[in-house]
Each structure stands twice: as C-alpha cells, then as structure tokens.
Amino acid sequence: MSTGTPQYDVCVVGSGAAGGVMAKELSEGGAKVILLEGGKRVQPNQLLTHKWPYELPYRGLRSEKQDIYYQGDVRKSVRYEDSDDVGVDRIRVVGGRTVHWNAVTLRYAARDFRERSLNGIEEDWPISYEELAPYYERIEQMIGVTGQDDGLEILPGGQHYLPPLPWRCSEHILNRALKPMGIPMIPVRKAVLTRPYDNRPPCHYCGHCMDGCDVAAVFNSATAMIPKAQATGNFTLRQNALAREILVDAEGRARAVSFVDTSTGKEESVKAKVVVVCCATIETARLLLNSRSPQHPNGLANSSGAVGRYLSGHSGSAVRIYVEELQGLKPTNQDGATDHAFIPRYNHLSGKRNYVGGWDIQVNFASYMYPQQANRIPGYGADFKAQVRRMQSGYLMMGWFCKIVARPENRVTVDPNRKDASGIPIAVVHFRFGENDLAMWQDVVKSIREIGAGVKGPVFLDSEQPGGFASHEVGTARMGKDPQKSVLNGYCQAHDVKNLFVTDGSAFTTSAEKNPTLTIMALSLRTAEYIQEQRRRGEL
C-alpha cells in the first residue's frame, strides 16, 4: 500500500450534492482539499440524452441512457435481506446523483425537525429550521432554483427564485379539480434555470432532465461546484478512487482514507486532518461499518450502534390519468423541463389521521414520448391503436412521496463474506414498512383516487402496494443530541471522532415527505462553515 501522498487539510469522500458543496466551500476558504470519487467524469458529449429510442440498441429499454452513471460494479455491490419491496439507488460518477436527477429542491418545514416534540415519534433534530434557513437561502442562490415563495408553512420559501415554469393544460385542469378539495398546487421548485444564471444557459425544454442535462441548465455538482473548487488551486480530484476504509490514529481520530484506484486496481491512501464523508446514505454506512479498528471495533463513529440504523426515505408510486377534455386534441410539445407543478403536503389541513406524517405529489415528471396507456388499456387491433393515440393528449402523471418513519430495525449492514470487484464488503439492506407507513399508504391511495375522480378521465395506478425509496433514502448515520442514540452532532460531526463529518442523507435524523437534496446541500454548507471556523480556532 502506498502512503507517500501529502497530507491534505480535508479529504472529502463522494462528489455528489453534499461533496460538491463541501469541496467548493472549503477550497474557496483556503483549505487544501482532496476529493475521492469512486466514478469518473462523464463529458456532455457522452450523454445520450437527446437520442431517440430507435437510435439505441434496445430502444432505451435496457437503461442504455443511464448506464453511464452506474460505473463499475456498483449495481451489483448491494443485496437485500428480509426486506419489503424496496430498492436503493447508488451511483458512481463525478457529480454523484446530481448528474442524474429531477432537481426538485424543497426546504423542510419547521415541524419536520420536531417529530418527537410534536408527534411523539422518532427524535427531534438537534438543529431547527431557523438555524438551517440561512443556508437554504445561500444554496438556492448558489445553484439557481426556479419557483416562488408561496407563503406555505408546510413548505417554506426563499427570496431568490428564478421565474417559475408555466403550467401545461393538464396542470391547469388538475388545479381546477384540486381547489374545491382544498388542496393547494404551486409552481414546482427545482434547480433548473429558466434564465441564464451563473454562466450557465437556461433550460431548452427537451424533457430529459433525469437522463442528464448536456448544457447544465439542471444543476449538477460536476459542472457547477467542482470547477469552482478547481479554480482555487487548493483542490485535487481523484477519480476512480473507491474508498475502502477510514484509517485512524492511536487516539481513534481519522488520519487517512484508504481507497482502490479502480482503473488500476492499486491500493492507495490519502492522509488528511479532517475527513468528510459524502457517499450517500447506503455507501456512507458501508464505509463507516467497514472502517473497523481496535479503537472502533463496531465500525467508525459507532459507539452508539446507530451507524446503519434508522434507514428511511420515501415510499411512493405513480398514477396516470387521461384527462377527458384533453383527449383527441392535436399533439403539442408538452415535455418542457419535466414537472412544472407541485402539490405540497395537504393531509394535515383537514381531518384526523391514525398515523403521523404525510406525502406530497410531483406532477408530470414523465416523458410524453411513450404512450403509457398502451400497456394499460385492454384489447388490440385498429380500435386499440386509435384509442392509444386519442388518449395521449390527455396524459397527466402524478407521483407521490410519503414519509417513512425511521426505525432502528431498518438498517444497512455489511457482508464480510461477499465483496465487490475491489474486495470491499458490500452493503446489505434490511427494511420493512411499519404500521405508520402502511396506514399512510392506505390514505394516500384513497386521496389519489379522489383527485383522479375530480380531474375526470381514466385512472391507472402503477401500484397499490408501497414501494421505496424513490432514490431518497436517508438516516443511517443520524444526527442527535444524545451520543448514545445518534452518530453525529448538530454540525454533522461524529460524536466519537472529532475530525470526522458526514453531510449526506445519512445525517438526517428523520425523513419528511420532501425530497432531501436541498437539505443535504444546506447541511453541507453549514458544516463547511463550521469546519472552517474550527480550523481557524485550531480545534481540528
């Protein structure tokens, strides 16, 4: 093993939403930063975003457009054990999941930080919305967010939005149906530019946000954060560097990160005064649990036993509605920037519930190219073909995201007997939905059917059974005030290891119904500021 590398001030592991912010902020602050990323960079001209299905070998049905983001054996290096029908999303590429996302950016509400105090479940976060709000604001300015402040307690707004995306006909009709039900619908908030911003061009409305944006109108860390870190002269990016273990000194403090260069198979390590883990919820738990030593026999920062536990995220599914009054109209270009409208959580506005938490609904984040109804309506032949064509102009899709209650038995472990191509023990996911999750599911399906009836048109649910996690898994190294029940303090600093920080989704104490990325970035920014302050004081 080579250990002849220089010592860096900070080693950031992972280049996605959390790692990009962290690397940029610390580099700009003067720290010597090295970023280890398990994947390699994808250039814009490598994207297949605008390819037609018939230009692809399997028409895109074998994930040809997405394979570029799942490098190496990342898809294989996880398994599920005693689990309900869930899947975790792991990616390996410079920029992490920000190069392959829909970019919906939602602030958590004040109540989302206080589940124990308000509802008697889970734990309160060790920080409040008020403490995180300034960082939300700065991140929104940094990445460029379209939308508006709608004045909703359940979805706090900021002051620096780009013009919202205009609604399609189906969205206006949906809003018309929602009003008498007392359900508000608002312009979506997402990190997609509707005007030139930060030397990035605006969206060109091709409709392929999640396939990768070739002009970076959709925010991603690879093109909007890492170049800024590189411009400081303080930053080093190591691609194809798959972290194996965080090494510690005699006192149990992090001293280095060992990794495998997947392009050569060579074992290396990099020394750093501070280590920040930003590998996302599953891989972060895997890395910490694989970092066992005499000082940390149960894995790094795991004296509480909470590393890997409290795995949470979202359950959800989607519905396809074919709006009667739009069927049969002449085709128009409806793709745009995927979703333009958003339905914030509304179940708290009326009635009593036998569960805690809620859901929100993203509207029209599916392409209009492929007629989904063709696999849902019965029959065949000329009438079938004509019906498929007629229905398409009425297409309205909604996907809902439900809070999952964090429970200790839902967890990530590692399997020492099964290793990936680099010889690193893989992650094992153990997950079962709880009573609260299932009770909420019954309510959301009922509500979705009521909305469908209000819109008027055939309604097709993708699934009536809960599935997870919608790429929104969180919670395996949670923050908390009590070191015996949590891994991190309110600054995402390990209780056990002063110079170790974790700022990805695993740091979440609890999940809300909101997409987690904006909160991940705000936490990372706040922690970066804290690290700089602590370094100035000589504490790190």
């Binding site: 070998p57 190219m369 032949g381």
Partner: protein
C-alpha cells in the same frame, strides 16, 4: 436486485420516465453496437432467437395487435418482430421458453380455426394468471407496444410526437378554456 431497484424507484429514474416497463430493467449484453439506428440496420438484421418461420408468425401477430390504418403504418412496417427477437435473445431462459412455446401454441390453435381466432382466444385468457397462452398474449402485446411506440413510425407518424427538441421558451397552456 437491480431489476427490483429500477422498478421501485418512484423518482422514475429516467428509464421508467421514458418507457415505464418491467423490461426496462432486464440486464445483459448489447447485441448491436451502441448508437446504431434501427432504421439503418433492420434490413440487414439477422435473427438471433426466432426461426424464420417463427418470425413470420410473430410478424403477423404484431401487425394484428397494431395494424396499419389510414393514419399510419403498423407493427409490420415498424419491424416489431425483429425488435422482439433482439429482446428475447437477450432475455433469460424462462422468457425464451415462454416465447417459443407461446408461438407454437398459437400456431397449433390457428390450424384448428384461424390465426385471428387463435389470437382472440389468447387475448380472452390474458386476465387469467394460470393460463400460459393468456400470459403469452400479455407478453406479446407488451413487446409489440414497446417495439412499435419506440420506432420512428410509432413515435413520429402515429403519435405525432414533437418533443425532444430545443425551445427558447416553454409556452405552457395557451388555451383559456383550460385555465
């Protein structure tokens, strides 16, 4: 595992966004070079799984499911059977058996009456999970749908899709009656 992952990610990681089928998650090796246009290679396409006679039967069946009409050509013109050959060839053994046995069953039934009747009988059983021929119809229809609506003919001529292009501004709904 990856199949389960892809199917359950409600964020609809782009493959479901575009195509939304279970087949989207099948894994395997590409038989055609990346980026090859179907329209350019179909003429020289060599069957990988089906026999010539199976393909001829499949071609007829797909055209019966999505026929040519006054609006657009059908599945035959879109060469949906060749798409099916490629997909089945890359699939697993149970799927291959289903296709081979299913086509044989349809052929057998057709001899008793007609191909049209045989397909209709299979379609009637499509809601019966225990019926092999019914489940074959489900697979056949889905494959035809996927092959047709991802083809140039299906996307452009039939559906009249006009997205996947560059717009300076997105107009949104321009119909006052919908607002």
């Amino acid at each position: 595992m990856e199949r389960r992952t892809a199917l359950k990610i409600v964020a609809l990681s782009a493959l479901t966004k575009n195509l939304g089928t279970a087949q989207a998650a099948v894994t395997g090796h590409c038989a055609m070079p990346s980026g090859t246009a179907w329209s350019a290679t179909a003429e020289s396409y060599k069957l990988q799984f089906f026999t010539e006679s199976e393909n001829a039967l499949l071609d007829q069946l797909t055209e019966m499911i999505i026929p040519a009409d006054g609006h657009s050509p059908g599945a035959h013109a879109a060469q949906a059977s060749l798409f099916a050959d490629l997909m089945v060839a890359a699939g697993d053994e149970p799927a291959k058996s289903q296709w081979r046995n299913g086509l044989a069953r349809i052929q057998e039934e057709a001899k008793k009456s007609s191909l049209s009747d045989a397909l209709a009988q299979a379609a009637e059983l499509s809601d019966t999970p225990s019926s092999d021929v019914g489940q074959f119809f489900v697979a056949l229809k889905q494959m035809t749908v996927n092959g047709y609506y991802t083809s140039e003919i299906g996307i452009h001529q039939d559906m009249g899709y006009i997205g996947n292009t560059y717009l300076a501004e997105f107009p949104g709904c321009t119909h006052p009656e919908h607002q």
